[in-house]
């Protein structure tokens, strides 16, 4: 009986024959308890919240989950670019949020230019091309800027990673200030084409088609990246570079070219995320760059730097936290939802300092 109980305890604590220090086991126990409590709370106990417990209000629960998936999708698009650059080059791209916002602003400017209007256009006049073309332009401009930053400022000091972080911080300060000057301080949205509009009804809830579209885009980006990294020669070289850059170089592969490709790809993903987010979940305003830099950071700290799977897991977890916390906290305390982000960060760091899928540098 004692053996069974201690065996169960050890299995729960993840000991399995290894000699795990007691505080590690305690941390594991706390996390298991926390997860169990959150599930029980959401399913049964959450009656005093704006959503109500999942048992009593299943449609609210489903809606929150779908909202979480939408926001996770955009988190993933932006953070995958960030993690790709870090994984290959050990460069923390602190200007990632600036590129995100800049692409959004360029897309907005070109959309207004195409439509010949000032101010937010009516959704009805925004055709298919009036959204796609600005998106492509924004992404291309930002990719070019990313290439410029990498070639001029980062190429020759490769390997000095703190210095590179400081360089990109300086660039983000300049970019942020210039964006205020050129695009003003008023919050503006990009208008999504009217073809992606309306609602679908299923299981008793109304769900926006544009949210499904965002999820589809994220899946597309994830699938495309997976194909690129696993099935093409470029991807093979990038993965090899992540593991051992000097060896790749020794094999006669032009690593500088691979670095440039990866940096352009990372910048393009920031820009893509910026345009999609600016059309769906956020408006473009000063300060949004810092906000999305935080989102990228949290996702990769949770998921582990340089890992695509980690970015997916991290954005899913973070998206669930940001979407569920405001509606499942007691109504009077809903504004404490930012704590949820910190709690997730703390729990992950307590057991895995390099993130769920990360490895020490």
């Amino acid at each position: 009986m004692t053996a069974v109980m201690s065996g169960a305890a050890n299995a729960l604590l993840g000991r399995r024959g290894r000699n795990v220090p007691w505080h590690r086991s305690l941390a594991r126990l706390v996390i298991i308890a926390a997860i169990a409590f959150v599930i029980v709370w959401v399913v049964v106990l959450a009656s005093g919240t704006s959503a109500g417990s999942a048992v009593s209000a299943p449609s609210e629960f489903l809606k929150s989950i779908l909202n979480a998936l939408t926001i996770s999708g955009i988190y993933f698009i932006v953070a995958s670019g960030f993690t790709l650059v870090f994984g290959l080059m050990r460069t923390v791209q602190m200007a990632h949020g600036s590129l995100f916002l800049l692409a959004g602003y360029f897309a907005l400017e070109y959309q207004l230019d195409f439509l010949g209007v000032t101010g937010t256009p009516d959704r009805g006049i925004v055709g298919w091309g009036d959204w796609w073309l600005p998106l492509v332009i924004g992404v291309v401009i930002v990719s070019g800027l990313g290439l410029f930053i990498q070639q001029v400022f980062l190429r020759w000091n490769q390997g000095q990673d703190l210095r590179q972080a400081l360089i990109t911080i300086a660039i983000s300060i300049v970019l942020g200030d210039q964006m205020i000057q050129h695009f003003g301080g008023v919050a503006e949205p990009i208008t999504l084409t009217h073809e992606i509009h309306g609602y679908v009804n299923f299981a008793g809830i109304r769900y926006g088609i544009h949210q499904l579209f965002v999820i589809g885009m994220a899946l597309g980006v994830g699938g495309g990246l997976w194909l690129l990294l696993k099935k093409t020669r470029t991807g093979m070289v990038i993965r090899a570079g992540v593991d051992d850059t000097p060896m790749v170089q020794a094999l006669g592969i032009n690593v500088q070219k691979v670095f440039a490709v990866a940096f352009v790809l990372g910048s393009a993903l920031a820009g893509l995320g910026g345009v999609i987010a600016g059309s769906s979940v956020t408006t473009l305003a000063p300060g949004v760059d810092g906000q999305w830099l935080l989102h990228s950071l949290v996702v990769v700290i949770i998921g582990g730097m340089g890992s695509l799977g980690g970015a997916a897991a991290g954005s899913l977890l973070y998206g669930l936290a940001t979407a569920l916390a405001p509606v499942y906290l007691p109504t009077d305390y809903a504004y404490y939802s930012i704590i949820a982000t910190f709690v997730i960060l703390a729990l992950v760091l307590a057991v895995r300092p390099y993130g769920l899928f990360g490895r020490p540098a």
């Binding site: 000095q160 990673d161 911080i169 983000s172 300060i173 942020g176 200030d177 300060g287 810092g290 950071l297």
Partner: protein, 423 residues
């Protein structure tokens, strides 16, 4: 390159250099210290004159430099002796200021309005911040290098959103009309404006001596061992994570002293003071001064605050840098320094030709600025001119190191189609 050495330490590779800041020639550090003492003496002797420029220079520029310098010194302490770049120090002084604001204010529109004695608020603020620092330091203590930087940045930004969202404690507008102890006086009281300056000066000197002292205690020496080679220190029986945690806690304590002075100076604290911009401001001060020498914190803070106040008076540039474009200028200065002289102004002598060129630039720009814009133009000109000189020296050094590349580019531009053979 000190930053690359930092990386090596963070990565656990055995460091080839000596023990941190002793690498610096004593001359450079002494020069920085003499400069700071001179500035402080300017404040002490000219604070009482009725001249409006000097009045402003002491009561605003020098006082704020001392206050931000205290907070920036906590970044420098962590990076110089612990090998950790922390971006959470802005949050730490913010937490202290918010605690004081909530505890001592009465009848304000925001915050808890507890209305306690200002000194109780100070003790509470420092206590809360230090405890939070211990907790956050513990969570991050198993990381190092870039991970540490990112985790602490996440702390800082999450903290900003916390104070924006939690309207009971602050809300977007922040807490206003925070009372300071009686001996500081009221901000509108024109008779004793230099009291805050003297208080800040005393705190700054105490912090400087404290951090220098700590770096020589057994704890400080072990911390430098942890910075240089965590694996070896671990196998020698030192608890690496706890050394990092206690260092972070001490840094939080120091930053909280900056928070106390900050809230006394501003009489208000709003989340915008600790947003990403505020976080980067403090880091920028540390970078300008050079993140590995304590004196650099106050020097960097002075350069930052002086430019912030006199940016309109920068001659040659004031046509296209208006007041609101201060951040572009400061970003460009940081870029120049990080590219050309990564050890900041304290490490000037490590870049060949930087010191004479910086002096020439400072003299030319300062004299022209002084002639055209008066005292403000002279101060701004000296700073911008020195940075321009450093940038020029860095560019020349880079070109000298890449002579072949430059020649290749040049010959391509001339479209001979052929790179000349190297001899």
């Amino acid at each position: 390159m000190i930053l690359s050495r930092l990386r090596d330490r963070a990565g656990g590779a055995p460091a080839g250099g000596g023990t941190g800041s002793s690498d610096y020639s004593r001359n450079t550090r002494r020069l920085a210290l003499i400069l700071l003492v001179a500035l402080a003496l300017v404040g002490v002797f000219q604070g009482i004159t009725p001249d409006p420029f000097r009045h402003y220079f002491v009561d605003v520029v020098l006082t704020r430099s001392l206050i931000f310098g205290v907070a920036a010194a906590s970044i420098v302490f962590l990076s110089a002796f612990g090998g950790m770049i922390s971006l959470a120090q802005t949050l730490m002084y913010g937490v202290c200021a918010f605690t004081i604001g909530n505890a001592v204010t009465t009848g304000g529109s925001k915050g808890l309005n507890l209305g306690w004695n200002p000194w109780v608020g100070v003790v509470l603020g420092i206590g809360v911040t230090t405890a939070l620092g211990f907790l956050m330091g513990l969570l991050a203590s198993r990381s190092s290098g870039l991970y540490y930087l990112m985790i602490t940045l996440a702390y800082g930004v999450i903290g900003y959103y916390f104070f924006v969202q939690v309207t009971v404690l602050s809300g977007f507008g922040g807490v206003n009309q925070v009372r300071a102890p009686d001996f500081i006086g009221e901000p509108t009281d024109a008779t004793n404006p230099e009291r805050l300056f003297y208080s800040s000066l005393v705190v700054a000197v105490v912090v400087y001596l404290l951090l220098r002292y700590v770096s020589r205690t057994p704890f400080g020496l072990a911390l430098q061992g942890v910075r240089d080679d965590p694996v070896r220190m671990n196998s020698l029986g030192y608890n690496v994570a706890m050394h990092r945690t206690w260092a972070f806690t001490l840094a939080a304590f120091v930053a909280s002293l900056g928070g106390v002075l900050y809230v006394w100076e501003q009489r208000a604290i709003a989340p915008t003071a600790i947003n990403l911009g505020g976080i980067l401001n403090l880091l920028v001060m540390a970078i300008i001064g050079g993140v590995l020498v304590l004196e650099g914190a106050w020097l960097g803070a002075f350069i930052f605050v002086a430019l912030e106040n006199y940016v309109r008076n920068v001659v040659f540039l004031n046509n296209f840098i208006e007041e609101s474009r201060f951040r572009t200028l400061i970003g460009a200065i940081v870029l120049v320094l990080v590219l050309a002289c990564p050890d900041g102004v304290v490490g000037l002598r490590k870049v060949r030709g930087a010191l004479p060129l910086a002096l020439v630039g400072a003299a030319v720009w300062g004299v022209v600025g002084g002639l055209q814009e008066g005292d403000r133009g002279a101060i701004a000109g000296v700073i911008v001119g020195a940075v321009a000189g450093i940038g020029a020296a860095g560019l020349v050094g880079w070109l000298a190191g890449h002579r072949d590349t430059a020649r290749g580019v040049w010959s391509k531009l001339l479209s001979t189609g052929r790179v000349p053979a190297r001899n």
